[in-house]
């Protein structure tokens, strides 16, 4: 987002970076310039007016930086002492190094030469800061790149998807439309050719995915409605893992208090209450309570 206010120190940093940028982009429009620096055009105008007053001691027209921008296009002269591109700050290096981590994870599309280059750049950057801030390779990013390809190129993907409610992996063919985030979990909307309807999928539940040309679909065996079920429960033991499993806000939980548990599938709900090992007790659903008892009984039978 473009910034509309700025501190003197932020402005100083920008002014120092403006000079080498303008020297390599003579005649750039004010609008483009503001976009590059992600500031409002008012802020950029103020920057240029300030820079125009700067120069070498003496401060006669001979020493001052010469800027022309009244036409809406910016040119710069007489700025030799500030022509150097400033060294990267350590937090800029972190941003670049983490960005390279993410890029490298994108391994499916990286050639060996590119991957070597990324490693070399990453090493060069990290040597300059000497701290460990990194992103470990995770399958999610590689999967995301395939899904974004599906979105941008409108191509179907063949995907093995893990469904935790049934603890099963199913094969589907989907065309993705959009990513969205909720509670720090990444989802995407897709037309599921298998189920012949729009579905929501969690990125971290993709087991394997690849682009496909084929639309030959395997019929969806388990069609279910996408309606949320809600069940009231009592908090018996304060337990972080249970709160995280149900996406409950930590501060909403009090011993003896009530919470509403939400789920798309009753099976997932039952399993998660079992996993909560007695920290949450279902109160207002006979149906769910009965299903939990049945689950417990069939599990206990295995230990007898």
């Amino acid at each position: 987002m473009a910034k509309s206010t700025t501190t003197p120190l932020e402005q100083t940093a920008r002014l120092l970076d403006l000079v080498p940028f303008l020297l390599s982009h003579q005649g750039i429009s004010m609008a483009d310039l503001a976009k590059h620096f992600k500031v409002d055009s008012d802020v950029m105008l103020d920057d240029l007016n300030t820079l125009w007053m700067c120069g070498l001691p003496g401060y006669t027209p001979l020493e001052l930086i010469d800027l022309a921008f009244d036409s809406g296009f910016v040119t710069i002269r007489n700025a030799a002492p500030l022509a150097y591109v400033r060294t990267l700050s350590s937090s800029e290096i972190v941003a670049l190094a983490l960005g390279l981590d993410l890029l490298r994870e994108n391994s499916e599309k990286l050639g060996e030469e590119q991957s070597d280059r990324i490693d070399a750049l990453s090493k060069k950057l990290r040597e300059q800061i000497g701290v460990h801030i990194s992103i470990a390779a995770s399958p999610t990013t590689a999967h995301r790149s395939v899904i974004s390809a599906s979105i941008t190129q409108r191509l179907p993907v063949e995907m093995t998807y893990y469904s935790p409610s049934s603890d099963q992996e199913t094969m589907r063919i989907v065309t993705a439309y959009d990513f969205f985030r909720e509670n720090d979990v990444e989802y995407f909307q897709a037309h599921c050719h298998t189920a012949r309807e729009m579905r929501t999928f969690r990125l971290d539940r993709i087991v394997a995915v690849s682009l496909t040309q084929s639309l030959d679909v395997i019929p969806d065996v388990q069609r279910k409605k996408n309606e949320k079920i809600r069940v009231g429960a009592t908090v018996r033991i304060l337990d972080r893992a249970s709160a995280e499993a149900f996406g409950l806000t930590f501060t909403d939980l009090h011993r003896g208090g009530s919470v509403t548990l939400e789920a798309f599938s009753p099976e997932w709900l039952i399993r998660s209450i079992m996993a909560a090992a007695g920290s949450l007790v279902v109160e207002d659903s006979q149906e769910i309570a009965l299903a939990i008892r049945q689950s417990i009984d069939s599990t206990m039978a295995l230990y007898e």
């Binding site: 940028f21 390599s24 972190v94 941003a95 280059r117 995770s138 399993r271 009984d297 206990m300």
Partner: protein, 310 residues
């Protein structure tokens, strides 16, 4: 328009352009923006030096002639001021630009914007080939992520409220060492000042804003992270898992034996409460066999669940 930023830029120009050290009195006499009583100018200059240093600009202090005790002077050497990443070509520039664009709308957006400006100022035409790669995407928007990153870089201690396994909130004071993103979560490793030992924290369990000490360089980050326990040192759990079930547990385990209806798997116990929950979650698809204590915990939990939902 700010007089202060104007003065800071003029000071930078004067110190960069000079071949010799400029004394304080020369600076006060010639650099635009220094005015008022000598003490006021002194204070102003001290603050300006700190401000420029905080922008990563190294101001060198020296004398003209080491034999005679001249008044000390200041300068900024182009070598320390200017970007130096060694030889870079168009492909490198576009890979770095692509890396920076990962932060659009995310935590380090400000830093990546200024880094992009610097890369674009180098006058190296970027090579468009890597653009066929997809833009990476840093999904973290958490404000604390940025604060912790800066604290690590400045070696400043931090304080925050952390939610424990029993949901109790504790104040923690940490010397932050490293940040690591793994499987969708960010982990902070640091020295817990109170417990005087190294701990790991998950960022989404920090429930307050992180406060960062003003003072920097208050600790050193150890070169070698302490040896992590390897799976060899851990006790193993043996489970019976129904065919085609328990994918998550199987992915962490080795297959010991394969029967008609059940498989036997073995996995190292990293987090006993996670394993307990996970076995219960799988209901009658997984049976805990060993160790005996795990088996007993499962049976006890089942009895308790039965009583509570009776």
């Amino acid at each position: 328009m700010s007089r202060k930023s104007e003065r800071l830029v003029n000071l930078t120009i004067a110190l960069l352009a000079t071949k010799r050290y400029l004394t304080k009195s020369e600076i006060f006499r010639t650099v635009e923006g220094y005015e008022g009583a000598p003490e006021a100018m002194e204070r102003m200059f001290e603050r300006d030096k700190d401000d420029l240093r905080s922008l990563g600009i190294a101001i060198e202090l020296g004398t003209f002639d080491p034999i005679f005790e001249d008044e000390a002077g200041y300068r900024i050497t182009p070598a320390s001021y200017q970007l130096n990443l060694g030889e870079l070509d168009g492909t490198d520039i576009s890979l770095l630009s692509l890396a920076a664009s990962a932060w659009s709308g995310a935590a380090l957006e400000k830093e990546s914007t200024s880094a992009l400006v610097k890369l674009a100022s180098m006058g190296i035409d970027s090579d468009s080939e890597p653009l066929s790669l997809l833009t990476p995407f840093a999904s973290i928007t958490n404000e604390n992520f940025t604060l912790i990153t800066h604290a690590i870089l400045r070696r400043s201690e931090i304080e925050f409220e952390y939610v424990g396994a029993d949901l109790s909130t504790q104040s923690r004071r940490i010397a932050p060492y490293s940040l690591r993103g793994q499987s969708g979560s960010w982990y902070l490793v640091g020295l817990d000042r109170e417990k005087d030992s190294q701990r790991t924290f998950r960022l989404d369990r920090i429930v307050s804003e992180v406060t960062v000490d003003k003072k920097g360089n208050t600790f050193e980050i150890p070169d070698q992270p302490p040896q992590l326990r390897t799976d060899k040192d851990r006790e193993n759990a043996v489970l019976h898992v129904r065919k085609n079930r328990g994918h998550q547990l199987r992915s962490l385990a080795t297959l010991v034996d394969s029967g008609e209806e059940w498989d036997v798997i073995s996995l190292p116990i990293v987090d006993i409460s996670w394993l307990l929950r996970s076995i219960l979650w799988h209901r009658d698809d997984v049976i805990a066999v060993e160790p005996a204590a795990l088996r007993k915990s499962i049976i006890d939990s089942l009895h308790e669940l039965r009583t509570l939902h009776g």
